[in-house]
């Protein structure tokens, strides 16, 4: 455990990628195979199921700290991280623990089925046996993921250096649904053939936002243009009469979309398709908001299937007749995909293709982009016709050219303390727009929350304002005298019954602080609604 805690401490205490990769490489070279598997699992967000809920965790930690519960909660609001708060308030003893990371994780897994008394005794005993940082790491293993700025890509790079296995091969091996408690390091990383090949997806190829003028990309004939659909990027695998649907976040979501079972027997085995899952009713693409109703549910009722149907809109084909064709050109793969679509389109399965725009100049590309909002897309994808299907986010061959966000000027009305690097600063804001109430008076109505888009210096100034202009405190939330106006940008907009304003916005974020505007100059809910197509 000590080595793993030291690794996390190093990763957490630097912003430099080189230092992170070096620390990981060193760790992988000396750690036991079991610990390595668990480290990979944890850094790729495969943590064991939570054995204890956070309410009990707080209660038991607080018992050791011997402070009133409200004081624990206040501390938690300020520290901004539960595991860190627990690690800080529990006294450090002279004891120490020599158990390995794997031993701890096995105990944590076993803990789930134990009676409450045993859980409590186990946690309290171990909290006291570990030093401050180990205690933090131990608690993190129980509560959730480590957000320490280590992407899967970075970890893969370090592992590749330590084990001398190609990075892209590793990325493929690490995908999918493997269980760190059952797989050995040998099977996961070193063995040539993987046991769970059947469901295994390929790493997604991701595009960069376009930089500068689109015409700088060169001849328009060398590029293929299609819309960037606003749904869930997914990979659908059909092998040996089984179907697996993976989301971009490497989550297996097959069960959420039972309508895709209809692909079996229609789309041949040995096919892997890169596509967007979209809300689709009455022959029309829906909004992301329509899709949201499907994403949130664990079980899908027949009623929901009826009211919120989806479709798979295919971009690319990665495997055909059981052969990995990612190294073929985009043009080659698209032809296959189009043939596949032609062959199955009469069968009424919820499958379609992301059409390629016929375009003769960059001007026409620009005009096509302007149609995005109407077509319910986020903008355009620009792909080089001879590009292979690469791994991860790579520059050069695939670009996204998104629409400019919609903007509105809104008033800051509530603020909450941030977490992580923003803990102890008020950085999570709620914004409101004007609306006339029944009495004909103008009032501010909440429409969105946002917590990104300002510089650290601006956040400090706004934080200072909030502390001086607090009207009321509700735990970590404060209501603030309406005085500051911000320009809020968002990607999409739709009517919503769940929101007080009657409108849901997608990806709201702060574009800038309008120091030049007074609250009377902020927009109205009506202005916002007029943006809905």
């Amino acid at each position: 455990m000590r080595n793993f805690a030291d690794l996390i401490k190093t990763l957490d205490s630097t912003n430099k990628t080189t230092i992170k990769v070096a620390a990981l490489t060193t760790y992988f070279k000396q750690a036991s195979p079991e610990d390595k598997v668990w480290t990979i699992a944890i850094l790729s967000h495969r943590r064991p199921p939570r054995p204890v809920n956070t309410t009990l965790l707080r209660l038991w930690a607080n018992e050791l700290a011997n402070i009133p519960m409200w004081l624990f909660e206040e501390s938690y609001h300020i520290v901004g991280d539960l595991a860190e708060t627990i690690a800080l308030i529990i006294p450090t003893t002279k004891e120490h623990s020599d158990k390995s990371l794997t031993e701890y994780l096995e105990e944590i897994i076993a803990l789930k089925k134990k009676p409450e008394e045993e859980k409590k005794a186990y946690l309290q005993q171990n909290w006291l046996a570990l030093n401050y940082y180990e205690r933090f790491v131990f608690t993190k293993l129980i509560t959730g993921s480590f957000r320490i700025g280590v992407s899967q890509k970075l970890m893969t790079r370090a592992l590749s250096k330590a084990e001398d296995v190609d990075e892209d091969v590793l990325a493929y091996k690490l995908m999918g649904n493997w269980d760190p408690n059952k797989i050995t390091f040998q099977e996961l990383i070193l063995d040539e053939k993987s046991s769970d090949y059947l469901s295994k997806p390929y790493p997604f190829y991701l595009a960069y936002p376009i930089e500068g003028d689109v015409e700088n990309l060169g001849k328009v004939e060398e590029w293929s243009i299609e819309h960037k659909w606003d749904g869930i990027r997914s990979q659908t695998i059909i092998r040996e009469d089984e179907i697996f649907v993976w989301s971009r976040g490497e989550e297996l979501v097959t069960d959420k979309y039972p309508e895709f079972q209809a692909f079996l027997g229609v789309i041949p085995n040995g096919t892997v398709i890169d596509a967007e899952i979209l809300a689709f009713s009455n022959g029309e693409i829906g909004t992301f908001n329509d899709l949201q109703k499907r994403i949130g549910r664990k079980t899908v009722s027949a009623k929901l299937l009826e009211s919120n149907p989806v479709i798979l809109k295919a971009y690319d084909i990665l495997e055909w007749e059981g052969r990995d064709i990612r190294n073929e050109t985009y043009e080659f793969r698209r032809k296959l995909l189009e043939q596949l679509y032609e062959a199955v389109k009469e069968t009424k399965i919820p499958f379609s293709i992301s059409e390629r725009a016929t375009i003769a100049s960059w001007d026409e590309v620009a005009s096509e982009r302007m149609l995005a909002r109407e077509k319910r897309s986020e903008g355009l994808m620009i792909k080089r016709t001879n590009s292979t299907y690469q791994v991860g986010r790579k520059k050069g061959d695939w670009w996204k050219w998104k629409l400019e966000p919609l903007v509105i000027d809104a008033v800051l009305t509530y603020a909450m303390r941030g977490s992580g690097r923003r803990s102890n600063l008020f950085t999570d804001y709620t914004f409101a727009l004007w609306q006339e109430n029944e009495a004909g008076e103008k009032e501010l109505v909440t429409f969105a929350k946002a917590y990104s888009g300002l510089t650290d210096a601006e956040f400090r100034k706004v934080d200072d304002f909030i502390k001086k202009n607090t009207v009321e405190k509700f735990g970590p939330v404060r209501s603030v005298t309406p005085q500051l106006v911000f320009e809020i940008g968002f990607e999409g907009i739709a009517f919503s019954k769940r929101h007080k304003s009657g409108v849901a916005t997608r990806f709201p974020r702060i574009l800038r602080w309008r120091l030049d505007k007074k609250i009377a100059d902020a927009n109205t809910i009506e202005d916002l609604k007029s943006m809905i197509i």
């Binding site: 912003n15 501390s75 300020i78 708060t85 800080l88 006294p91 102890n424």
Partner: protein, 366 residues
């Protein structure tokens, strides 16, 4: 005095009924005015017409220590501990200041004042105020750990204790200075082994000298930023410090490699620092106890070292004063005073403009 005055007036004049009511009211106000009150200028002793650490210009100011939020410019007369005199003269320039000794009582209009070590930085004091047997103590900023350079904190018995609580949360618990300094010296050695310059941030008055005092000069040279060099020179007659070298335009970055640079937090991210590549940055502050604070500050290494009390030493020192009333001035005041009330103290919060260690992390130095 007030009661005698009351008697004289009433004997000499035959007050009407209305006048009587008004006069009673006035006497009542005077009688119930606390020895120290908080107004928009600072902490005020009306009887002596003296302010403690005022934040707006006043006639008479007793100053606890040299940090900018406690010793401001523009007062007519300054009274402070004699070791703080050269510090505030250096920071504020031409001012009218008189220095007193620890425990030396000076009386203004029957109010007895004395200064007592606060252990925060060199020359930092608590102010004891006594009138008619009632004793108030104002801590300014303080810490109870002996840092070996400022005179250690002294417990002063009182009825009302006006305390800071910058780190008044149970999440703050300091490790002993010797341990932290060992970590800092080891960090320097590691950076040296990699051929890098270590840049260590600390407030130029107080923290920088505390770090300097315990850096191991056998490891390498200690370089300083101008503001730290100047302040250290002011303090050298009082404390022995290792040799330092001021960084100037002529300083080559090659000569810094493997050595350590002491810089104020405000230098972080500026061009002055960027010219020193390759370097590693570290910050020494109580806020470094929080991972979020360190990441926000974007330093490579955080050392938890504070010139303020942690949670436990705040509680211990309040208990040791024997005070029944506690007033919290800056830090996590609401939370801390609520907890004190649960412990049975008559505790409350007063709004001041002191910043505690905040200035070390989220604001730039003056």
């Amino acid at each position: 005095m007030i009661l005698e005055f009351n008697k004289i007036i009433r004997e000499r004049y035959n007050l009407t009924r209305t006048e009587n009511v008004i006069f009673d009211y006035l006497i009542d106000i005077i009688m119930t005015t606390p020895l120290l009150a908080f107004n928009d200028k600072g902490i005020y002793c009306a009887i002596a017409d003296v302010y403690l650490d005022p934040w707006k210009p006043v006639t008479n100011a007793i100053i606890t220590h040299g940090h900018a939020d406690h010793s401001r410019w523009g007062h007519k007369n300054y009274i402070t501990h004699k070791t703080n005199v050269p510090i505030i003269l250096h920071r504020l320039g031409e001012i009218n200041v008189s220095g007193v000794e620890w425990n030396e009582t000076f009386t203004i209009n029957n109010v007895k004042f004395s200064l007592h070590p606060a252990g925060h930085i060199i020359g930092s004091s608590q102010v004891r105020v006594e009138h008619k047997g009632e004793v108030w103590v104002f801590t300014g900023d303080y810490k109870t750990e002996d840092d070996g350079i400022s005179v250690p904190y002294e417990v002063v018995k009182c009825d009302t204790f006006i305390t800071e609580c910058t780190f008044g949360l149970p999440a703050f618990k300091w490790t002993p200075q010797a341990e932290v300094m060992e970590n800092i010296n080891n960090w320097w050695l590691e950076n040296q082994a990699e051929g890098k310059t270590s840049i260590l941030f600390g407030y130029s008055l107080g923290k920088a000298q505390r770090l300097l005092k315990y850096l191991n000069p056998e490891i390498g040279q200690i370089y300083t930023h101008g503001s730290i060099e100047n302040m250290t020179n002011v303090l050298r007659p009082m404390v022995e410090f290792p040799k330092t070298t001021l960084i100037t335009r002529e300083t080559k970055k090659e000569e810094l490699l493997g050595n350590i640079v002491l810089a104020p937090p405000s230098a972080h991210g500026g061009t002055w620092i960027r010219k020193m590549t390759p370097f590693v940055t570290g910050s020494a502050s109580g806020w470094m106890a929080f991972r979020g604070a360190r990441r926000r500050r974007a330093v490579d290494k955080g050392f938890v070292l504070s010139d303020h009390c942690d949670w436990y030493s705040l509680l211990d020192s309040i208990k040791a004063t024997g005070a029944e009333k506690v007033i919290c001035t800056h830090g996590y005041t609401d939370i801390f005073s609520k907890y004190l009330r649960e412990l049975g103290y008559d505790a409350r919060t007063e709004k001041t403009q002191y910043e505690g260690e905040l200035s070390e992390i989220d604001k730039t130095e003056e």
